[in-house]
Amino acid sequence: MHFDFTEEQNLFRDASRKFLEAECPPTFVRKMMDHEKAFDPAFWRKLAELGWTGMLVPEAYGGVEGTLTDMIVVAEEVGRSVMPGPFYATAVTGATLLVLAGNEEQKNHYLPRVAEGGHLLTLAVLEEEAALQCGLVSTFAEGGQGQFTVSGEKRFVPDAQVADTIIVAARTSRRAAPDRGVSLFLLDAQSKGLHIEQMPSVDMSRRICRVIMDNVAVEEDSLLGEIDQAWPHIERVMELTHVPVCCELVGLAEKALEMVVDYLKVRVQFDRPIGVFQALQHRCADLMVGIELGKSLAYYACYASEKNLPDAPVALAMAQAYCSEMAQHTMSDCVQLFGGIGFTWEHDLHLYKRRAISLALNMGTTEEHREKVAKAYMG
């Protein structure tokens, strides 16, 4: 019984925090917000040197072969520093999909490049009705003569504006069971007929895009995994992505509360630091309770997912529902606790608030997460 991090993981956390404090201060985040693509190749190279881009890539393919628990250690720190860039899209979602579904040739081609920081990935699943359901995938890949032609429009694709390869979920069979009939294709972002457009949105340090495909031709060897059988892989990889996202929400909230507490200690009104007032103290205490409870759910979700336990999907749904609401509520209260200064562009708090809104909304609705929990307990 050890529901905690190892000594090694704690050292890794310290090192990660130091690295991000030095290399990813709020000034860097703001620079990325103003950047055309929210991407800095030099920063990405540093992540690769640290082994972060290859964290979930097996050693045989040039990666670090870390665990999901190692990843959530990083994720909390990513949250604390609002780290910009296509980190999850490439290092978690993309890399894991290749590990799960890729053939030897594909793994040998992509994974070492991802690990060394030379190749960026993203997964395009959602469309107009933006929910993670197999039946909603209408982008179609027409097959024949060793080639497919893909047409359709994807939305909310994370960091597609910098991706080298876009992994597209497309329907390959119209008469399949509800969770079948969808396949994955590795599409070169430069393909003819493929058009990428950013969707201006709340978190300017991480972008989301529309990917419009008009008869994009793709060779048969770009099919990732078996034809028609991609959906379980997509569900599993989103589970593995959303665990660290929950931890990032925890990291964002924890850092925001720290900023508030530091401020309440020095902000003087009525001749005393306002941190002495119980109206504010108790509000901070309640935020701490929420953060710690959310942390516990996120850690358990990580454990269950890493061990692939039967309750992993429900454990994740619990963490998603709780951490999403907790982070929104924490950010909202932190703005209030800072008062006027917290409502300015100049103050860094809104970077945290923006990231929290975007992460939570990208995971789906808290209503659907709670319904998943209800189904497990009430049928």
Binding site: H2, H282, D286, R370
Partner: protein, 396 residues
């Protein structure tokens, strides 16, 4: 992270489970036990059960062997508590103050004579203890208490009043906190005593609670003689002694398995409650609400496990106790209110009404729910602890 138990620990769990199956009285009805307003009967069942646990060698599981315990590991104690909760065995409440609060305090602060005198009879439940801390003028501000103990030869003479004293009318001894020095700061002038409840001058008057039940009392002291050797810990250091005790109280509360049982009951209630001919458990709003309570309860349970991991490593208890107490009591408050709402007009019926649902248990829980946000340190005190000690916000 590893939440698995070792084969030895699993074997221990099996041993506990088997013992419970064989030893829980055949006619024991947990639903009746947890909802009866008949305190005498409840105490009787609890005492009989405590004696059975003692005979089976299960009381003071984690006490050092030299004091009659088993020197069990933190994990074994955790497993044991979990199994008691799962079996919905009678609560340890009757002897909780003795076993979980007084004993660790005596082991920490007591003299050899005191250890010999008190510990064996706590273990065997021959002597039941109550806790004499709170007073009408000293609740959250415990150190402001005014019950006095004045030195007089080989005795102290105690005068004053205690209140909210749980089970005083069934207790043999009181763990008393009284003022022995008025001339110093309020935290510095207190001492702790073991007081024989049969001493002349003690009057116990039961208080009827908001629920209509009577679990606690007022206790009046009029020139009560307490022998000097009954002082626990050094004179005027009673505050430090009490802090030791309260740490054990906080560690002993938190994640109660009864909440989990109540959640299962709530699911069953939603299932059997019909709305326009359809089970309320099909209603999306009802499902969302219940899911939320389940999520919050799991968050508390996992936080308790994080605290357990710290304890296993021998680290001092962190803030998890306050967090679990705030989290679980707040969840329980809303959960019970929601159950009443599900019941509609039936939510107001007491167990005496033949038409009541679940023997009126939900009404009782609705009325009881506030006990957990007040007792054992109010939610507001818990928040102040977190704000000033965990977050480091200034006191003044």
């Amino acid at each position: 992270m590893d939440l698995e138990f070792t084969p030895e620990e699993e074997a221990f769990r099996q041993q506990v489970r088997t013992w419970l199956e064989e030893n829980l009285p055949k006619d024991y009805d947990p639903d009746e036990y947890f909802s009866t307003p008949d305190v005498d009967k409840k105490v009787e069942i609890s005492l009989a059960w405590q004696k059975k646990l003692y005979d089976g060698g299960w009381t003071g599981l984690n006490w050092p062997k030299e004091y009659g315990g088993r020197g069990a590991t933190v994990i074994e104690q955790h497993i044991f508590n979990e199994e008691l909760g799962r079996a919905r065995a009678p609560m340890a409440a009757i002897n909780f103050i003795g076993v979980a609060m007084v004993a660790p305090t005596i082991i920490h602060w007591g003299t050899d004579e005191q250890k010999k005198r008190y510990l064996p009879k706590i273990l065997s439940s021959e002597e039941i203890w109550c806790q004499g801390f709170s007073e009408p003028g000293a609740g959250s501000d415990l150190a402001a208490l005014s019950t006095q103990a004045v030195e007089d030869g080989d005795h102290y003479i105690v005068n004053g009043q205690k209140t909210w004293t749980s089970l005083a009318h069934y207790s043999d001894l009181m763990y008393l906190l009284a003022r022995t020095n008025k001339d110093v700061k309020k935290h510095k002038g207190l001492s702790a005593f073991a007081v024989d409840m049969k001493s002349p001058g003690i009057t116990v008057r039961p208080l009827v609670q908001l629920t209509g039940d009577s679990d606690f009392n007022e206790v009046f002291f009029e020139d009560v003689k307490v022998p000097k050797e009954n002082m626990l810990g050094p004179r005027d250091q009673g505050w430090d002694v009490a802090i030791t005790t309260l740490m054990y109280e906080r560690a002993g509360m938190g994640a109660g398995m009864e909440y989990e049982h109540a959640l299962n009951q709530l699911v069953a209630l939603a299932e059997k409650t019909k709305r326009s001919g359809v089970s309320a458990s099909r209603d999306p709003w009802v499902r969302q609400q219940i899911a939320q309570f389940i999520i919050e309860w799991n968050a508390v349970k996992y936080t308790d496990l994080r605290a357990l991991s710290k304890q296993i490593r021998g680290e001092p208890p962190g803030w998890e106790g306050s967090i679990c107490k705030l989290g679980s009591s707040y969840m329980n408050l809303r959960m019970t209110a929601f159950a009443a709402e599900l019941l509609g007009p039936y939510g107001q019926l007491t167990r005496d009404c033949p038409q009541s649902v679940d023997q009126g248990a939900w009404l009782k829980q609705v009325l009881m729910a506030r006990a957990f946000t007040i007792g054992g340190g109010t939610s507001e005190i818990q928040r102040s602890i977190l704000a000033t000690r965990a977050l480091g916000l200034p006191r003044k």
